[in-house]
Symmetry: C2
Subunit: 232 residues, 2 copies
DNA sequence: GTCGCTCAATCAAGTGATTGATGGATAGCG
DNA sequence: CGCTATCCATCAATCACTTGATTGAGCGAC
């Protein structure tokens, strides 16, 4: 974003272009080779990409995007900076890949939901899941918030984050709609609006907890909010 | 935070210490001279400090803390970098001053509240104020969010932000307590918990709106949330 | 004449990215 | 099978520029 220096020496430009073109098609064979090699694939090309993404993800959680350096990411993986640039053309690309990883975590990392749970139980469970994420993967909410900030200026990040938020709101919306139908939630609720309230609260609650973790009554507030949605 | 280089040449160390000591006492005469000189004070020492803080504040809103550079701040004011360092020993100090300015804006920038408003009207008005701030000072919410992120790693910022959040929550809490007493809000509400819900929602609502401004129903959600607090 | 304010010049440590080369695996050919 | 042509993954070295901070001097005012 601030580097973008024009190529100094136009030599080897053909090779450069070729490598760039190759890189695009490199994502494809990953799943294929993984399926074929089963166990040994973790050290291959796909493994390196993943290692870099994981290292960047952890570093962002530790020191923030503001102080994230490509050298530190490479060092954490134990490779040279040029090797990092072999897998990701720019720092920006790597960050976008981190957002993908983060989104995947956000989607899959959930506390187990008892089968046959009612809508009310499932909405309560959404909070349990939030606490669960904080316990087993405390980096996640930090990285999410860092990316929210970056989304303002980085288009790649914005697009991905928008999808994540839409998916999350959609899930909660469907859940509340189901709860209204079953009588768990007040019948005069608009599912979309109620979902906006719940997700905005959850997000702002995490932000405030980041600044004043001891004095913000996160659990009680969520519990009370869910209760407010019940029929009166 | 990442520079902190030890002084290269220990020469003029006494002067350095003296200037540092002088700087602390420099905040004091600002108000005194301002009161004395009335109009001409804006160009004096106090004016420069203020100019720098305002320039930094605007730059943070435009490009974010991640890409904030002291050179750009100085250039925006039209002065040299060393002059910036004459007023603020470190970048960190300047940022802390920006937080103070931001907090002051957050406190004072409010849509006019009709006299004799009920608690319910005043809570609604809090949302009107939020919209008002977005209109007359759109930078504010961006800077607040940027600072929230930085608070994790910058103690000076964290302390100031914590105070701001406590003040805000306290205001809403008192407001809700008053509303409960007057019958505007449900009697079974815990003011502290309800305030946490309202402020967390407001904050998360701003964050989501930053990423997906068009699709997030900010107004309707706030309106509905306030309605949920009414007696049933 | 000294005190507050300012700047040109410079420092030292970065900072993202590039280059050219190298060891090793794989494929192609006779 | 043996030999070479590619390609993949990697790195040391370096580029061109950035970045927060410092120094020492100049200038106007009181």
């Amino acid at each position: 974003m601030q580097r973008k220096r024009a190529p100094v020496r136009p030599a080897r430009k053909a090779t450069g272009k070729a490598s760039a073109a190759t890189k695009k098609s490199k994502k494809a064979p990953s799943s294929a080779s993984a399926a074929a090699a089963a166990t040994a694939s973790t050290t291959a090309t796909d493994g390196r990409r993943r290692e870099l993404v994981l290292a960047a993800y952890k570093l962002i959680a530790e020191i923030g995007l503001e102080e994230l350096r490509t050298r530190d990411i490479a060092a954490k993986v134990g490779i040279n900076i040029s090797t990092l640039h072999y897998y990701f053309e720019t720092k920006e690309d790597l960050i976008a890949a981190v957002v993908d990883h983060m989104t995947e975590l956000f989607r899959t990392l959930r506390a187990p939901l008892p089968a046959g749970a009612t809508a009310l139980e499932e909405l309560r469970h959404a909070f349990v899941t939030q606490a669960y994420r904080r316990r087993v993967e405390p980096s996640l909410e930090v990285v999410v918030q860092e990316m929210m900030m970056r989304a303002r200026r980085d288009e790649k990040v914005r697009v991905r984050l928008e999808q994540m938020l839409l998916g999350w709101n959609g899930y909660v919306e469907a859940l509340i709609a189901r709860g209204i139908a079953s009588g768990d939630f007040a019948s005069d609720l608009d599912p979309k609006i109620a979902a906006a309230i719940v997700t905005a609260f959850a997000m702002g609650s995490n932000v405030q907890s980041g600044v004043r973790p001891s004095s913000f009554p996160q659990e009680a507030a969520y519990e009370r909010l869910v209760a407010l949605l019940k029929p009166r």
